[in-house]
């Protein structure tokens, strides 16, 4: 699992970082995005739906886990 620290960064930057960095992990692996922009909680799951990746949920405040599935 890799962690991307986007704390303090405004949307769409956390989603841009996620889209770029998810290519670094193997299919099946998990990326954790740390983001405190209020739009992240909405836009990270929406990105997963649009790009056919799996949103695993938010294990703690301002943290979002995504599994690469394709």
């Amino acid at each position: 699992m890799i962690t991307i620290d986007c704390l303090g960064r405004r949307c769409p930057l956390p989603v841009i970082a996620l889209a770029r960095r998810i290519r670094e992990v193997e299919v099946g692996d998990v990326v954790r995005v740390l983001a405190d922009d209020p739009a992240a909680a909405n836009d990270i799951p929406a990105w997963c739906r649009m790009k056919d990746q799996e949103f695993l949920g938010s294990p703690e405040p301002d943290a979002f886990d995504v599994r690469r599935v394709s």
Binding site: R10, C11, V15, A19, N42, A46
Partner: protein, 382 residues
């Protein structure tokens, strides 16, 4: 330095859902009423009586347009003021029945702010297309202590038309009055019956800004939430803006006479925008119901795009649109409507058309948009 990217005369205003350009009929009526309708309609001398006749004629015309009785209708200083009066007055009138306001998750923020002032609110969600969860709605209005229910006729952000008739039926079974915020439908689309209170806003149909309409059907309990009102029916305090009201009434009648034809024309243009955006802009989500939608409004979200940057880029090219992205709003939160639907909130653009919008305007917009999105993405390294 002035940006010269816009060719002369090529600006296209595509934000009618915020404020439609003034209808020519409204302009004429406004000028005539400025000459005739400046006196206080509550005074008994000849000038006041003349103003009173204008007000009553405007009231009768607007009531006829909306299919209600003139004494059920009142004019307010804005659509927002009418919404506040409907929600707070509707709740106050039903104090003995309960305190809870049931509302959809995609109401206009005016409803949400009024609800917050009042206290108890129960929110009912929507699906990915922005359609009300009717089962959730039925269950919510059946619960004890519900004073009022509030449903927007069609989403002001994504255009999805709500199942007003079915929601009204559920309210009637539960004995709960229904308030419908018809700001985006009045003058554009049919408003199903069955509601108890309704509000609308003149500048959404081509009337002047500063005129809201509130309808409270006979038999509906409404009590003024404002100080100093001892009248038996809803009415705002102070002198009304009579010239604007006269213009609002005249333009509603004109807009409704054109509505069926305009709906066909604009709906086809919206369909063209939906198709072209989906085909020419990669990683885009056109949001809202593709079929059960307003004829003149379409919304889409572009991945990896800052909504504010796109809005300004479009403005420089001569296109006025709005956005529900957080960076463009007065708060740092994204649109509660897009959040409730679970659709992408950044890179969001709402395009809303009006009687002055031409096919050429739409085609120019569609020719410019894909390049601007690509530029902004390239700047962000995507």
């Amino acid at each position: 330095m002035e940006d010269t990217a816009v060719p002369e005369g090529a600006r296209a205003y595509l934000d009618a859902a915020t404020a439609a350009p003034l209808h020519p009929v409204a302009r004429e009526a406004l000028l005539a009423a400025l000459a005739d309708g400046w006196a206080d309609p509550d005074r008994l001398y000849a000038d006041g009586r003349r103003a009173r006749r204008l007000l009553e004629a405007a009231q009768a015309a607007t009531a006829e347009s909306l299919g209600v009785r003139p004494d059920e209708l009142s004019f307010w200083p804005s659509g927002t003021a009418a919404v506040h009066a409907a929600v707070l007055g509707g709740l106050a009138g039903r104090e003995r029945a309960g305190r809870t306001l049931v509302h959809s998750a995609i109401e206009h923020s005016a409803v949400l702010h009024a609800a917050a002032r009042h206290g108890d609110a129960a929110e009912v969600g929507v699906d990915l297309l922005g359609r009300l969860d009717l089962d959730g709605w039925r269950a919510a209005v059946q619960r004890p202590g519900v004073a009022l229910a509030s449903l927007i006729s069609a989403s002001h952000e994504v255009g999805t038309v709500q199942p007003v008739a079915a929601a009204a039926e559920a309210c009637a079974e539960a004995g709960v009055p229904l308030f419908v915020d018809a700001a985006q439908s009045a003058g554009h689309a049919e408003i199903p019956p069955g509601w108890s209170l309704l509000s609308a806003s003149a500048h959404k149909w081509g009337g002047p800004p500063g005129v809201g309409v509130l309808v409270v059907r006979k038999g509906t309990r409404w009590r003024s939430p404002y100080p100093g009102d001892d009248l038996y029916r809803p009415r705002p305090q102070g002198a009304p803006d009579l010239p604007a009201i006269v213009a609002a009434a005249a333009s509603l009648r004109a807009a409704m006479a054109e509505a069926a034809t305009e709906a066909v024309r604009l709906s086809a243009l919206v369909e063209r925008i939906r198709e072209t955006v989906r085909g020419k802009v990669p990683d885009v989500e056109v949001v809202g119901d593709p079929v059960q939608r307003l004829p003149h409004l379409v919304t889409f979200s572009c991945l990896y795009v800052d909504g504010e940057a796109l809005l300004h880029a479009l403005d420089r090219r001569g296109f006025a649109v709005s956005s529900g992205s957080s960076c463009t709003a007065s708060t740092l939160r994204p649109s509660h409507v897009l959040e409730a639907m679970g659709v992408l909130s950044h890179g969001n653009v709402r395009v809303s058309l009006h009687r002055g919008t031409t096919e050429a305007d739409v085609d120019r917009f569609l020719a410019v948009l894909p390049g601007l999105v690509a530029e902004i993405r390239a700047e962000a390294g995507m």
